[in-house]
């Protein structure tokens, strides 16, 4: 890529894919922004008209918006906490020379390869079902009443399911980070009189900080848009108990047929995701510069 001719050739050759990728992103975004300023309801086709920011006013003052915003943050925060803490503990365990480590590692990674809808169905029908579920059966062994998970603890159930799905990812990243920890450092700390707990907090945890940053950033991106698990199990309810922003946008568009309102919600979700991203990168992204 040194001569002018080869540079030009390179540009011409790569142009189609760049243009396609740009359109792929820009056209839907532009249309969504345009729709968000229209009154556009599928029940009254052909009646679209420009209504300015009214959609945004409705969406942002809707009590459902604040409920789903809180649900989204609670869901993301809880799953992050569970997967990071659980990932570190499981990673530490799998880093030890224990019996059957190879098989254990495979088992721990497995949930990541299960698609979210299947995951949700397995939890809903096989594990958490109050009549035929595994948990109900275990409870009955101890003479306890079965818990109706999706009625009594809906958001907790979703958090458990999503955590189960994302724990393998955290374990995978954190385990590789643990394996790269220099053995000499641990031994030096041992010579310095640090016990296992001190070694964990002073040596292992700081060493993991980068990996934890990666886990938090990547998981946050995906957890903000959790949808399948909610759609398959609770359908956002009871009430609004498990509705997050992504699900709220869905109900606006496809249950109330309000394309304009849903577009406004979508744009709000994009803005919120960007706020979270900026916040995260400011807060922990500096770990990546080291």
């Amino acid at each position: 890529m040194s001569t002018r001719a080869s540079t030009l050739t390179g540009r011409i050759m790569s142009a189609p894919s760049i243009i396609v990728l740009f359109l792929w992103m820009a056209v839907p975004l532009g249309m969504t922004i345009y729709f968000s300023f229209l009154r556009y309801n599928l029940l009254s086709p052909g009646m679209e008209e420009w209504i300015g920011t009214l959609n945004y006013e409705f969406f942002l003052t809707d009590p459902a918006f604040f409920a789903s915003l809180a649900n989204t943050l609670l869901l993301v925060g809880s799953v992050l906490a569970i997967t990071v803490v659980g990932g570190i503990l499981l990673g530490l365990m799998l880093d030890q020379p224990i019996f059957g480590r190879g098989v254990l590692r495979l088992l721990v990674i497995a949930p990541f390869f299960i698609m979210p809808t299947v995951n949700a169905l397995v939890w809903k029908n096989l594990l958490m079902d109050p009549v035929s579920g595994m948990f109900a059966w275990i409870a009955s062994l101890f003479g306890l009443p079965a818990i109706d998970w999706f009625t009594n603890a809906p958001l907790t159930s979703i958090i458990i399911m999503v955590s189960w799905q994302w724990l393998p990812f955290a374990v995978l990243i954190l385990l590789t980070a643990l394996q790269s920890l220099d053995r000499d450092q641990k031994e030096a700390a041992q010579m310095d009189g640090a016990g296992p707990i001190s070694i964990f907090f002073y040596i292992t945890l700081p060493h993991l900080s980068r990996a934890i940053t990666v886990v938090v950033l990547i998981e946050t991106i995906f957890l903000l848009t959790v949808f399948a698990e909610i759609f398959v199990t609770t359908g956002g309810g009871p009430g609004l108990a498990t509705t997050n922003i992504a699900f709220l946008v869905y109900t606006q568009a496809l249950l109330q047929f309000d394309v304009g309102g849903a577009s406004a919600g979508g744009i709000v979700a994009v803005i919120l995701a960007n706020i979270v991203a900026i916040f995260l990168i400011r807060l922990i992204g500096k770990n990546l510069d080291k």
């Binding site: 450092q185 030096a188 041992q190 009189g193």
Partner: protein, 335 residues
Amino acid sequence: MGAIRLEKVKKTFGTLDVIPGVDLDINDGEFVVFVGPSGCGKSTLLRLIAGLEDVTDGKILINGTDVANEAPAKRGLSMVFQSYALYPHMTVYNNIAFGLKMAGESKEVIEEKVQSAAKILNLTDYLERRPSALSGGQRQRVAIGRAIVRNPAAFLFDEPLSNLDAALRVNMRLEITGLHQELKTTMIYVTHDQVEAMTMADKIVVLQAGRVEQVGKPMELYNNPANKFVAGFIGSPKMNFLGGELAQKRDCHEIGIRPEHIAVSTESGEIPATVKIAEHLGAETYLHVEADGLGPMTVRATGEIPLGEHDKIFLTPEQDRIHRFDAHGLALGNS
């Protein structure tokens, strides 16, 4: 105080005898160097003393108490690792202070000890830096600083200079020797470099395949090696070993002559030879020669010698510097 005594220390990994049983006395304040080729068990022996490996059998006595089953920190020893093993996320100050912090010392005591260690090691200006912002030699000094502050019974060094370049290695060698003279603490130093062993040690322990081949002062090992292995390992370039007629004439299986104990002449001498390669270093000349009927030999001559490839020369060993060995490689005393 730091007298260390090993009694029948044994280490096996599975069925592999890494250290079949070592007895060794290290006196208080001594600078002892474990030297041997790679894989001879010298690092394992050091790690056994440190407590980073469990002994299979035997006793490790530090000042008379058996510590073979104690945790590393309880033994009162400090170790400097080959990789330095600095804590990368801590400043130099915190690196040095870590051991004291773990021991529960007060802030004032830590401050004082860290500052005095930093002063000894010329690290005062770098205390707020992280290890990644230091040069190799400075990192090495931080590792030593971390060892010093704990005021140990003995320092353990595991090949501490092998990651440094040649010039820095010579400097650090002098610094460590100086440190030993200043602190007068027992030091155990592991290296595969016999030059480090010769220059630094009060006492050298030569190891091979987990066995102690010989223990002694550097010059004792140089002048009276107990066997062929020690004779070949100590001294650079390596000793020449010759069999055949020359050995029979001296009543032994093989003789050993150090390259520096051979006189070179172009007219007459005991062993006729042909120069293959001559390395001219200015102060001395290394001649790699092919001795007639005896095979390759190395000769070290002082000063500049105008010899080159294919030159015919005659070699005459210094008669009282010839080492004699029996068929098992054991030394028979000088002839």
